[in-house]
């Protein structure tokens, strides 16, 4: 398959996943803020923190306010990662590979795109409950996954798309986990308190993990929740699951069962192995936040390796010679 098309497939899926996850972030913060004690101020800065775009926010806005944060993460054309920009870029990539997609996939991408445009026009960030809008975005993206799954052939394009989606999802699950690090509890004594656990529950719900978690562990504990979201092998949003599946897609593309044939496979294999041979106590003794930081860095390395192994034009030199 054309390198450029593989690249666009990968990014189209990443951007859709990103848009959906940002919509989830809005939800988690709303839920957290609703669960917090009456005397605790609503916290919107952590939401910007976990996206990694705090420096940009700071340069654009003087104060942290609910409406501004919602605008910044959802609608702001100046924020390259806002839902608005993710959807625009997802559609732009889809347009570039239109012949690879089915009519149904293309129409659903357009649907989400027009939904977003409409939200901008109607200034949906000013709504009393913006969650309604973000829910529509989330559902629009989920419908897209469904149509994608049921209409696209399992060719290389599909697998590149899948890898993009899974890497983005792993990244975002890790960031959701990290939100707890950034949320300020009133005192250290609050750790393990009902408030603390309520926040963890809200967080689980934000990644649709609450029900599956309850089924497996029953009781809510910090340790188990982290174990579930990082290491679970069968929950589809856990970091480990995402990497295992991404590895399978990568192997399908290269036709390799074991070892590695390029840097992308090597880097992904290393990170997979690291997750396979670690338990949650190891992670906590190193510090959860530090672990997640390190994980995100390695995920970036994988992304770069995928670019270099499959998408980059290695023929520029010969181009000139002809």
């Amino acid at each position: 398959m054309l390198s450029r098309i593989a690249d666009s497939m990968y990014w189209m899926n990443r951007y859709v996943e990103r848009a959906e996850n940002y919509a989830r972030f809005m939800d988690v913060n709303f839920n957290l803020s609703l669960e917090s004690a009456p005397d605790v101020k609503q916290q919107w800065k952590p939401l910007v923190d976990i996206t990694g775009d705090w420096p940009l926010y700071e340069s654009l806005y003087e104060t942290v306010q609910k409406e501004k944060v919602i605008y910044f993460l959802g609608f702001d054309p100046q924020n390259p990662n806002s839902i608005y920009n993710s959807i625009i870029k997802a559609r732009e990539n889809a347009r570039a590979i239109r012949p690879e997609l089915t009519k149904e996939v293309w129409e659903q991408i357009n649907h989400v795109y027009f939904l977003m445009k409409d939200g901008c026009k109607k200034k949906s960030w000013k709504n009393k409950d913006p969650r309604i809008f973000f829910n529509k975005v989330k559902e629009g993206c989920q419908l897209l996954y469904g149509i994608f799954t049921t209409t696209i052939s399992r060719n290389d394009g599909w697998h590149f798309g899948k890898i993009g989606q899974l890497i983005e999802r792993a990244d975002k699950t890790s960031r959701v986990l990290d939100v707890k690090y950034h949320i300020l509890l009133s005192t250290p004594n609050d750790i393990g308190s009902p408030l603390d656990l309520a926040q963890w529950a809200a967080l689980l719900k934000s990644v649709s993990a609450y029900d599956m978690y309850r089924k497996k562990y029953g009781r809510l504990t910090t340790l188990n929740i982290c174990e579930f979201l990082i290491l679970d092998k069968v929950f589809p949003r856990s970091i480990n699951f995402c990497l295992i599946q991404a590895g399978k897609s990568l192997n399908t593309i290269t036709g390799l069962n074991d070892g590695y044939s390029n840097d992308a496979e090597k880097q992904l294999g290393k990170l997979k192995a690291q997750l396979q041979f670690v338990d949650i106590h190891d992670i906590f003794s190193d510090g959860l936040h530090e672990y997640i930081d390190d994980f995100q860095e390695k995920l970036n390395t994988i992304s770069t390796a995928i670019y270099k192994s499959f998408f980059a034009n290695k023929y520029v030199e010969s181009n000139i010679k002809t």
Partner: protein, 478 residues
């Protein structure tokens, strides 16, 4: 319930495609008119509304050059079709076949023996000064000696009810995807009409296109690609659409690389050879080594690979020499010269500003003429004398004086009108007609066309970039 009515429909002043007088409906429109009159106004409006929505969700959008990047518009599709009788169509088909054969003989002659110049049929200077004339193509013999495989000819119908050729598009004519998608949409809008009217199908265009492209190589299983400038090009929707319909790869210049004289696609799995390129990139941009050095859209070495016969470019570079608007004036004479036939579809009378007598006439009569740039397209760079301000006329007078070779002038033609759905009633709007012609082993004219309609009342400019819309064109069976 308010029904659709033509009681106040104004047919005066122009050839109307539906009515031959204030009461008399033309035979090809009889059934459709009866159907409309049984339809409620509200229903008709809601059908139009669903059409708009269908276009949006299909992503049938185009970018307008003068707008900011990323501004997309839909080409408004008016649901009232343009209907042409089978008899009229068959006549047009003969004329289009004749014309494209003659034009290809002309292009081949110009780049090879130049007999037409030696026999004093057309002035040498006029041909060699065409913006689209490429000296790099001298001596070139493309497969089957065909240069313009895919063309679209703009026809108009004058006040006398006759069709005329307005211009030829021999390079990258666009709009065929709208012909195909408009039909798909209208089949949903008026299914009962298709049952009753025996409209000739256009469905197999993409198959014919693929067959034609495959016929240009001598072996089975040729790898065919569509080359696009990318998603910001105004016709990108069409490029993607055609690639998808033909099952061809849609590539950009940066996806291709030339090695040892062959063209390859860059894939995740290494290089893959390309045999036929349906390119929607202009001549000047296909290869920075030969043409525009700053082109980022092209592939270095592509032209050389083409000259070596290792890849087929469709259409052939240099074909545009025959759709220069100054050459246009000579086409009836070219048809006579090459085929010894009279032109079946006539030209519009054309004044060539580089010829002294014509120049004088044009300068003195600008306010009555339509002046066009000889290498222009898309409705840009033209003056419609009767509608222009004094300042615009003065400005054009200077332009023509400074560079007469760059301009031609024609009398103003009152384009025919087709009933069109407007805000509160149905009114006549001016239209043209662009049929599409494929030329590989043989010439094929698809029984359908893009009818472009000037949506603004009284306007004669049908170009999509200038506020035009489109209509589905129904060619009836005999």
């Amino acid at each position: 319930m308010q029904r659709v009515s033509f009681r106040d429909y104004d047919v005066r002043g122009f050839y109307d495609e539906m009515f031959s007088g204030s009461e008399a409906v033309r035979p090809s429109y009889r059934l459709f008119k009866d159907f409309l009159e049984k339809t409620s106004w509200k229903k008709l409006k809601s059908l139009q509304h669903s059409t708009d929505r269908a276009q949006l969700s299909l992503g049938m959008t185009f970018n307008v050059y003068s707008d900011n990047q990323g501004v997309e518009r839909i080409l408004h599709l008016d649901i009232i079709p343009r209907i042409i009788s089978g008899e009229k169509w068959d006549h047009l088909t003969k004329g289009l076949e004749q014309r494209i054969v003659a034009l290809n003989l002309f292009i081949h002659d110009i780049y090879n023996a130049q007999k037409v110049i030696k026999d004093n049929i057309i002035p040498k200077d006029l041909v060699l000064s065409c913006a689209s004339y490429l000296k790099q193509c001298i001596g070139l013999k493309p497969p089957k000696n065909v240069w313009s495989h895919i063309s679209g000819t703009d026809l108009i119908r004058g006040g006398d009810g006759n069709f005329y050729v307005l211009e030829d598009n021999l390079r990258c004519p666009s709009g065929v995807s709208y012909m195909l998608e408009n039909r798909e949409i209208l089949k949903r809008t008026f299914p009962e009409m298709f049952e009753q009217l025996k409209v000739r199908p256009v469905l197999d265009y993409s198959h014919c296109l693929r067959d034609m492209l495959e016929s240009l190589t001598d072996f089975e299983g040729a790898s065919i690609v569509v080359l696009t400038p990318g998603i910001y090009n105004s016709a990108y929707f069409e490029h993607a659409y055609l690639a998808q319909q033909m099952g061809a790869e849609l590539v950009e210049g940066r996806d291709l690389v030339v090695q040892n004289g062959y063209v390859y696609m860059i894939t995740t799995n290494g290089l893959q050879k390309v045999d036929v390129i349906y390119r929607r990139v202009d001549d000047a941009f296909i290869d920075p080594l030969v043409f525009n050095k700053n082109s980022l859209l092209g592939t270095p070495g592509l032209f050389e690979a083409y000259l070596k016969g290792n890849v087929v470019l469709v259409n052939a570079p240099g074909a545009g020499v025959a759709d220069d608007k100054a050459v246009y004036a000579y086409i009836p004479r070219l048809i006579k010269y090459y085929l010894n036939e009279e032109a079946i579809i006539p030209n519009i009378k054309t004044h060539i500003c580089s010829e002294e007598k014509d120049f004088k006439y044009v300068i003195e009569n600008l306010e009555n003429l339509v002046v066009k740039q000889t290498d222009g397209s898309g409705g840009y760079g033209m003056l419609i004398g009767p509608h222009a301000t004094r300042a615009e006329i003065a400005e054009f007078k200077e332009k023509v004086k400074n560079n007469p070779r760059n301009y031609i002038a024609q009398p103003m033609i009152s384009l025919s009108r087709v009933p069109t759905l407007c805000e509160n009633e149905i009114q006549g709007r001016h239209v043209d007609l662009r049929p599409y012609i494929l030329y590989g082993k043989e010439v094929r004219v698809i029984p359908g066309a893009l009818t472009r309609v000037a949506l603004k009342k009284g306007s004669l400019v049908v170009n999509s970039s200038q506020g035009g819309g489109s209509k589905d064109t129904w060619v009836l069976d005999n």
